[in-house]
Assembly symmetry: C2
Homo-oligomer: 349 residues x 2
């Protein structure tokens, strides 16, 4: 194979996926302490909260950990499209007895235009920073390199992998169509070939000398070994970690993962405005009905979905929750993070 090892000091080449809103400093630290690479996602956090999460993680582990940011193109505003989307969702706002918003907000600032987050990361210097939805500018990457920060970025196809390699990023996260949560596609308006993790990893292994991390549909040690066989240098697991007690997943999300619903996931743009794989719920079914308007751009659509979810959760109704999950969700186990890590490592032998 002659594939490189990951340029991090890990006992096992297993990365816990960042999963903004689900991962926590406790989860990341537990994974890192157990010999894997824990991650926190700060793409949905304020800079103040992000700094705090990094410091909390550092307080819990001396091992390497990873901080993930969102590098999407900032939303192109389109009042007519946003209005149509809000109109489409108004029956739900009415049903939940909460006023429909009159406009949508860009609830996340892209790292591409977030100088404050960049300066914070440079100052905090986490061992590893990873990028989703795109890659930062050459000068920011140069600054990270100079600061000794290793970098990783998600590719969903060979073209994105090529851009990542040319940018001088250290590791390619090869995300297959099976993956839960947001697909890392750079430009969601391009046709998506929807390659599986296996096909993508096998292809990238021939294309690049960079280390590749397989992600999407991997739930156990056998899955990790299979990915290594295909040429990956490591595997990133997200859904497998949601049920850990250290995660921030709420009770209804955990229940859903243990239920028959886990077998029914769908890649949809209606929750956030970008394709993401979620367990199917009432909101998705309605919002995707034939004849529905196009969702507002990311993350504008997410603003609406989050407001609906907040209103519904007051009545313990999780029919509007973003319950991301990969295709492998039925294989998820409920273990503490350290135990899951050692189980995965044992299954790899």
């Amino acid at each position: 194979m002659n594939r490189p090892t990951l340029p991090f000091d890990l006992a096992v080449p297993i990365i816990q996926a960042p999963m903004a809103g689900v991962s926590t400093p406790a989860l990341a630290a537990a994974v890192s302490n157990a010999g894997g690479l824990g991650s926190i996602g700060i793409g949905a956090s304020t800079v103040t909260n992000a700094r705090q999460m990094i410091e909390e993680t550092r307080a819990l582990t001396v091992r390497p950990f990873n901080v993930n940011v969102f590098c999407h193109e900032p939303a192109r505003r389109d009042p007519a499209r946003e209005r149509a989307w809000l109109d489409h969702l108004t029956p739900f706002f009415n049903e939940l007895g909460t006023p429909a918003p009159t406009s949508l907000s860009e609830i996340y600032t892209s790292f591409l235009v977030d100088d404050e987050a960049f300066e914070m990361l440079l100052a905090e210097r986490p061992p590893i920073v990873s990028f989703h939805f795109g890659i930062p500018s050459p000068d920011r990457l140069a600054a990270f390199r100079k600061a000794g920060i290793k970098t990783m970025a998600t590719a969903t196809n060979p073209r994105e992998a090529e851009r990542i390699e040319k940018a001088g990023i250290d590791v390619i996260i090869a995300q297959g169509i099976e993956a839960g949560g947001h697909r890392g596609t750079f430009n969601p308006s391009e046709v998506d070939e929807e390659w599986s993790t296996s096909v993508l990893v096998r292809s990238l292994a021939r294309q690049t000398k960079l280390p590749i991390v397989a992600t999407g549909g991997i739930m156990d040690g056998r899955g990790i070994k299979a990915a290594l066989e295909l040429g990956a240098s490591g595997a990133q697991l997200g859904t497998a970690f949601i049920s850990c007690p250290e995660s921030a997943a709420n009770a209804s999300y955990r229940r859903a993962l243990k239920s028959a619903r886990a077998a029914t996931t769908r890649l949809t743009s209606v929750v956030s405005g970008r394709p993401a794989r979620s367990m199917v719920n009432r909101f998705i079914v309605y919002a995707e009905t034939a004849g529905s308007p196009a969702p507002a751009a990311y993350p504008l659509a997410y603003d609406a979905a989050k407001q609906l979810n907040a209103a519904a959760m007051k009545h313990d109704d999780d029919g509007f929750a973003a319950q991301w999950a990969g295709q492998g969700a039925p294989l998820a186990r409920e273990l503490a993070a350290a135990e899951l890590l050692t189980t995965l490592a044992r299954e790899m032998t």
Copy 2:
């Protein structure tokens, strides 16, 4: 793993996929002689031709080989839908200067209702018969068992696998979303979870004690090893064999597989009426345009597509050809079948 081995006498657990219209007795025999399991597909053949193909294969090898039949529910006729589909395609018939048909024919008889094909198979007694799109009746399966014929059937999800196991079939072909050609879905009107080969194999390995053959996106020995790691007892490769000199693929199909087009496949129902993965061509792009009517049922839609292709090929235009290919098509190699088999076996070590 404690997974069973395939109940056939093979040197390597590699099956060449049936691929009606592409596989030939020469291809199947070359694969079987090289220690794998060669297959012919007779779902699109008359009983006379099918018998001849079986006899030709038997004349070329003393090793086990596999004969595949289509077990789809016969088309439910719907004159309005068929008329709308023909109207949709009429501009192409006009352009190609060939009269649009006034009605569509069921060009393939389902094995479920084909007594003559059943009797022929019982009389010819090929070592293995495999089923796609469904499974035959219990009495036919009992007759095959009594005749010493081993059986395999395609599953695209856990429910189909359960039905296959309950029917007493010997091997489950676990077909992931990456696979080229027709998806084996029993009932295409059900929601398709579109599981990748990896997720499906890993799940079925926990569900059943039957041997599982992984198929979809597997192009080389590393891919086969990865599938075995996940719990498969063997792997079935289709796209990897199309370019073999022994296949019936025409020159334009072979050229397309070597071109950049190989990287752009799509699962579409517009060619045949059932979901199948194909390299994208002009016909597919047009026939899938937003607002297009639903394709006529399988195999009625295929009647129209085949007529268009026949007319276009007179002008060396392959824009209407059914050029099936899996997601792994860019990794295809051009080797004689025996050499491909030995290469795959070597890559597995």
